[in-house]
Structure formats: structure tokens, C-alpha cells
């Protein structure tokens, strides 16, 4: 099963040129990639994962005009996949808890991302989200949830008390969760 950027992009380009066999091969090759992408993030809610995989395949197929041939395929794919997941949470608004926010942030760190492109574009998403918070909250969340520092390390770096960092993280995450819930009402 092809799973590298070069092979996938080759199939995508052939599909764009009208090659149905290549398109089917591409969609098939994406299934395991997307299952693992969503599997990690949905904590094993298997039906949800499969729903998301299918929704993403449909999006990849019906919105392929939005792919820029001069840019990497996997960056596009994971941007679509991430959007489908955010939309999924939006539709099930009650599921957007502090825990899912924490998960989403942790996954955006460089260490866990599947590829450099994905990591860097996820990083930009996080920057945009954190940019909506106060700089104190944003820094506290970035240190503890993206960079993986402990509260004590973050406190030392920012010149704050440890409880101050914890409170900033908590309030910041709450604000982010509220933002994701509220922004699509």
C-alpha cells in the first residue's frame, strides 16, 4: 500500500487527470492513514473514526479542485482531515471538553505529528487559536501543552508562580473550548 508523499501525490495527480484506477488506489491508500490519524485523536471511538474516515474520503474526492498541484499532497490531506475533525466536534458540541482541547493541542506539537508539513500547519492553527487569548494564558498553554514542559518549568521560565501557570492554563483552555463551541452557533 503506497503511503509516502511521492506515491500519494502521483496517484492524486493521475486522478486529477481523470484516471479512475489511480483515484480508487489513492482513496484505498488513504484509509489506513486516516484510520490511524483519527484513531489517535478520537481515543478509539471506532464508529466515529470510521464515519470520519468516510467523510474525509468524500471530501478528498469531491473537493479535489482545492488541491494545488504545486504543493505537497499530505499537507492538503491532513488539513482536510483536521477540518473534518473540528467540524465533527462542532456538530457534537457537548463533546468539546477541556480534555479534547488538551488532546488537540498536544497533538499539534512537533513530536507527534505525522509529517513536517502537517506539524507546521498544525502549529499555525494553534498559533491562530492561542492568539485569541491573553499572552499570559497563551504562553502558559504553549509551554505546558505544546512544548511539553511541566507547570514548574513553565512557571520558572515565565517568572510566575506554579499555581498562577495552572490557573492560566485552565482559564485559557476553557476559553478555547468555549470559542470552538460558540464560534459556529
Amino acid at each position: 500500500m503506497p503511503d509516502g508523499e511521492a506515491e500519494l501525490k502521483c496517484l492524486m495527480l493521475a486522478g486529477l487527470d481523470g484516471d479512475a484506477t489511480a483515484q480508487a488506489a489513492l482513496l484505498r491508500a488513504l484509509v489506513p492513514l486516516l484510520r490511524s490519524f483519527y484513531g489517535h485523536r478520537m481515543r478509539g471511538a471506532r464508529e466515529d473514526v470510521e464515519d470520519l474516515v468516510q467523510e474525509t474520503l468524500i471530501a478528498v474526492h469531491t473537493r479535489r479542485e482545492s488541491f494545488d498541484r504545486s504543493r505537497p499532497f499530505t499537507a492538503w490531506l491532513y488539513a482536510v482531515a483536521r477540518y473534518r475533525m473540528v467540524d465533527f466536534f462542532r456538530r457534537r458540541r457537548d463533546l468539546v471538553s477541556l480534555e479534547t482541547m488538551e488532546m488537540a493541542l498536544a497533538e499539534s506539537g512537533f513530536l507527534t505529528a505525522e509529517s513536517f508539513e502537517e506539524a507546521s500547519s498544525a502549529r499555525m492553527d494553534v498559533d491562530a487559536l492561542l492568539g485569541t487569548l491573553s499572552s499570559k494564558q497563551a504562553r502558559a498553554i504553549r509551554d505546558t501543552h505544546v512544548e511539553g514542559k511541566t507547570a514548574a518549568e513553565a512557571a520558572a521560565g515565565a517568572g510566575l508562580s506554579e499555581s498562577d501557570v495552572k490557573i492560566s492554563v485552565h482559564r485559557g483552555l476553557k476559553a478555547l473550548a468555549a470559542r470552538i463551541k460558540g464560534s459556529r452557533k
Binding site: G15, L16, D17, G18, D19, A20, T21, Q23, A24, L27, R28, V31, E50, V53, Q54, L57, I58, A59, H61, T62, R63, R64, E65, S66, F67, D68, R69, A75, W76, A79, V80, R82, Y83, D87, S121, M124, A128, S183, R184
Partner: protein
Amino acid sequence: MNTEQLIAALSAEVPRVPRHALAKRIAIGVVAGSLAAMVLVAMVLGIRPDLDIAMRSFAFWMKWTYSLSLAAGAAYAVSRLARPAPGNLRILWLLAVPVLVLLGIGIGELARTPPGEWRALWLGHSWGICPFIVLALAVPIFAGLLWSFRRLAPTRLRAAGAAAGLAAGAWAATIYCLHCGEASAIFVLTWYSLGILLATAIGALLGPRVLRW
């Protein structure tokens, strides 16, 4: 439906996607909406009778250059934001250039006019309705862009909505020039821009709702 059946169903139909398909789709939306706006101008407001003379004047081309450059820049913004992961959008600050140029022309205009006439220059004959006509003409163009977005994949919906509103407003202003006889830079800078800004703001408000996919 299981995933394998879904893949079979999807790949039963694989139309060729031409290069620049995205740009074409956005252009079709803009052109269709603009034609509708033009029909509205012709039927409801009337094309200005002196259009052929006006088209040889500085004022007309000043207005068109302003609105067309905003319109082209905004269409580019739409094309970027219609893709997932639009990347770095800092280049969109160039949209400030036409505004600054027009501001320069406006200041020159004021310098050449006695202060007693500034108010008339600024308010013209139609300041009260101009922004709202621009906004109204933006509606069909925005609708055209919504059609374009149906096969595209914006992920920053508020920004994409704002860009679509800006493009709709700026194309609407361009078309409104076919009717409107106002000739001062300071008028255009204030009241045309206000209409365009209203369209942008409404686009930003609607984006997350109407561009979801």
C-alpha cells in the same frame, strides 16, 4: 455503506480536473454574480447617460482603478482561502495600497479646494445611499462566490467569508461606477469604501455558517 463500497462508488466517476480549475470556478462565480449586479444597475438605477464621456475622465478611471484593484486583490484572497491550509497570507496587506493611493489623491484634492467646499466634496449628492447600493449590488456576487465554494475546501471560514465579502463589495463598487456620477476621491474613499467594508463585515459574520462543509 462500508468504506470499500464508498470508494468504489466515488471512483466510479472521476472527471478530469483542468489546471487552474479553482481559479476558473471562482471567476465563474464572480462573473455570474457581476452580470446579475449589472442587470440590476441597468434596470433599477440606469447607466449614467454620459458614460462614454465619463470614460475619458480622470475621475472615472480613478474610481475604477481603486475598486478594480481591490476587487482583484480580494479575488486572490478568496482563491487562497478556498484551499485548506492557505499558508502565509501576509501578502494580503498589499490590499492597503489602493486605499493609501486614493487617500493621497484625496488629500491633493482637498489642498486644491477652498475649505468652504470640502463638505460638498466629501458628501457629494449621494453619500446617504451610496454605501447601501454597493452593499445591495454585492449580494448577487457573494451568492456567486458561495456557489464557487461548494466544491472548494476553506478551513478558515471567517477569513474566507470576509474575503468573499470584500471581493463581492469591490466588484459591486466597480459596477456601481456605471451609474454613479460622483467624481471626488474623498467621496469614493469614504462612501464606496464604507459599502465595501459593510460587505466584508457581513461576509465575516456569515462565513462560519454559510461556508461550512
